[in-house]
């Protein structure tokens, strides 16, 4: 059981980092950005390429790769806003979503054209996982958890303790009022894109550290990331973290539970072993998404309807 919790927390870290960026962009610009998960893909490939050429021990090389990848991807976020979304500020959300979908495809297939379609992984040495309370956690898994917690903490402090964070929240709440109060909202929007894309890149790298890196990885987690953002209440940063934990727990617990006793009670089956096939893991996020849309579309922590 402890193993399930560890796996869930690692999965939640990856999802939360990307979902926070997604929900921030939504909070400020009011559209669901389908490009966001692709920042994870781009970031993971940049970090991989850098870590392969930096002449340092592998741990430090990856760290350099992470920093460079987050900066480059952050600027890529700003660039996508400048080139595409800034020109569509007055367009309906549908147009912005379609443009973001198109931009996402450009990134996914751009990555595929540069790095190929095959799966890659970080050149991590094989290490014995640490064991405690019957659960196993690999050093890279622990690194993912620590990095995610540190990033979230830093982001929380930025939002609550700095002038920039206050300006960001003001811009999200009421752009004309923020503008009237002397906040240059276009600059804030650019910073939101930078931070959001950089967090997305970090999430993608974390995903790559515990699994593999490939050009379709961003798209594969899109449903789970959106489910996390919507469950928490889209536009709410803390909600996105909560949503990520819920989605990750549901995925791992859902697969670990033997559903047979429950279904025997209802008389549907007599089988003694009934697990959800691993192939349906993403389906769990989808079911959560539909349930929350039916019951409480604004999410658990959502303010506006």
């Amino acid at each position: 059981m402890f193993q399930v919790i560890i796996d869930s927390l690692i999965r939640a870290s990856e999802l939360a980092l990307i979902a926070v960026g997604l929900t921030m962009v939504y909070d400020v610009l009011r559209f669901a950005s389908f490009v966001h998960v692709q920042f994870g893909t781009v970031g993971a490939f940049i970090a991989l390429s850098i870590s392969l050429v930096v002449p340092l021990p592998i741990g430090w090389a990856i760290l350099v790769g992470v920093v460079v990848a987050c900066l480059v991807t952050g600027y890529l976020g700003v660039l996508s806003d400048r080139l595409v979304f800034a020109r569509l500020r007055s367009s309906p959300a549908a147009i912005l979503m379609i443009a973001s979908f198109g931009l996402g495809m450009v990134m996914q297939y751009g990555v595929q054209a540069i790095w190929g379609a095959g799966a890659r992984s970080f050149p991590l040495p094989l290490t014995r996982p640490w064991v405690f309370w019957g659960g196993r956690i690999s050093p890279s898994g622990a690194a993912v958890l620590i990095a995610a917690v540190l990033a979230m903490l830093a982001f929380h402090l930025l939002l609550t303790r700095t002038k920039l964070g206050i300006a960001m929240r003001a811009t999200a709440d009421n752009p004309p009022l923020a503008e009237a109060s002397g906040i240059y909202t276009e600059r804030i929007i650019r910073i939101v894109w930078f931070i959001g894309a950089a967090l997305g890149a970090l999430g993608g790298i974390m995903l790559g550290l515990v699994a593999q890196i490939q050009s379709g990885m961003g798209f594969e987690i899109m449903v789970a990331v959106f489910a996390a953002a919507i469950v928490g209440g889209i536009g709410n940063v803390y909600g996105a973290v909560l949503g990520a934990v819920i989605v990750a727990l549901a995925e791992n617990v859902g697969l670990a539970i033997n559903w047979a006793p429950l279904l025997q009670l209802t008389g549907l089956t007599a089988a003694s072993d009934l697990y959800i096939p691993v192939g349906y893991k993403t389906g769990i996020a989808f079911v959560i998404l539909i349930l929350i849309l039916l019951v409480r579309p604004r999410g658990l922590l959502g303010r506006r309807s």
Binding site: A99, G102, L103, M105, A113, F219, Y280, G283, I290
Partner: protein
């Protein structure tokens, strides 16, 4: 060469049906369906299961596919009928992936049929009556008849009161609600009709290529269909067909460019980058597409615009 043109036109016709369907949902009703490939997939699968596995006739498969597409449209629209477009986009995308996951994980009949093995041996309609060459022309004619029928249907709906309601919902669902219209119901029907048309395209596709597998129905397909509608001009049925032609020509253009085989994967990826860039350019610089929607103009209701406060008191 002529064989290739016949093939290309058949594919353009099949995708044209799916583009007409998306244009009906998005261009007409304003619904952002990012799971359009689901209808295509369900149409192809139901038709294939009915014919290749159950051994029923192609006509039955075709009708079943259309029904399945309509039912799927209702199922997809029911939970989100009242929600904003952001939620539509996400929920439909997720639904399409879930349906692909079900087909990817389900064996049909025997061990090596369905799931990732796909379905092979899907029969073509009236295959025995034609030689191989003539059959290509026959199938093209069949596809053209279906596209024409769908075109007439969506154009007729466009001009009907229901079509005007859909356009009203597209512009502002609150106005439609204020006039006492059932917006949720109209949206659900839009997806039912759209789903049925796209499923017909899926059925035609399955019987044309003779083999289907879940990899044919990746989210990439949804993106291509969106590219067709955006390129052609949302809201214009002729535009949807024109956009289909342009995107399919770009998509198939790598057949004409001879590249060394070690670069073919790169070129295939770059082709998608090109289509993505084109979509963004069209949105930025040609937002109404190649064939813009014709807006109907109504005479100004002068009587309502004149100040009438005095009259009201008089009445």
């Amino acid at each position: 060469m002529i064989d290739f043109i016949v093939y290309l036109l058949t594919i353009v016709g099949i995708y044209g049906l799916i583009a007409l369907s998306l244009n009906f949902q998005y261009g007409q009703t304003g619904l952002v369906n990012f799971g359009q490939v689901a209808f295509f997939m369900v149409g192809a699968y139901f038709s294939s299961i009915a014919t290749a596995i159950l051994g029923w006739s192609v006509g039955v498969g075709f009708v079943l596919a259309i029904l399945a597409g309509g039912v799927l449209g209702a199922l997809m629209a029911l939970p989100i009928g009242d929600l904003r477009q952001d939620y539509w986009a996400i929920a439909t995308l997720a639904a399409a992936e879930l349906i692909r996951m079900i087909f990817l994980n389900t064996n049909l009949g025997s061990e090596y049929v369905g799931a990732s093995y796909g379905i092979s041996g899907i029969p073509g309609p009236f295959r025995d009556y034609f030689s191989t060459d003539a059959y290509g022309y026959f199938y093209l004619a069949l596809v053209i008849v279906c596209v024409a029928a769908a075109y007439v249907l969506v154009t007729w709906l466009d001009r009907s009161p229901y079509g005007r309601l859909l356009k009203g919902i597209r512009e502002s669902d609150e106005v439609a609600r204020a006039l006492g219209k059932d917006v949720r119901n109209a949206r659900i029907w839009s997806l039912v009709i759209g789903g049925a048309i796209a499923a017909a395209g899926g059925s035609l596709y399955a019987h044309f290529v003779g083999f289907i597998d879940p990899r044919f129905f990746m989210p990439l397909e949804t993106f291509l269909i969106w590219a067709m509608v955006i390129m052609g001009g949302p809201g214009n049925n002729l535009g949807a067909l024109a956009g289909t032609l342009v995107i399919e020509v770009i998509y198939n253009s790598t057949r004409f460019i001879h590249v060394p085989s070690e670069y073919s994967a790169t070129v295939a990826a770059l082709r998608m980058v090109l289509i993505g860039v084109l979509i963004i350019l069209v949105i930025l610089y040609l937002p109404r597409g190649l064939v813009p929607e014709r807006r109907r103009r109504y005479p100004r209701p002068e009587r309502l615009l004149t100040p009438s406060t005095g009259d009201r008191h008089a009445a």
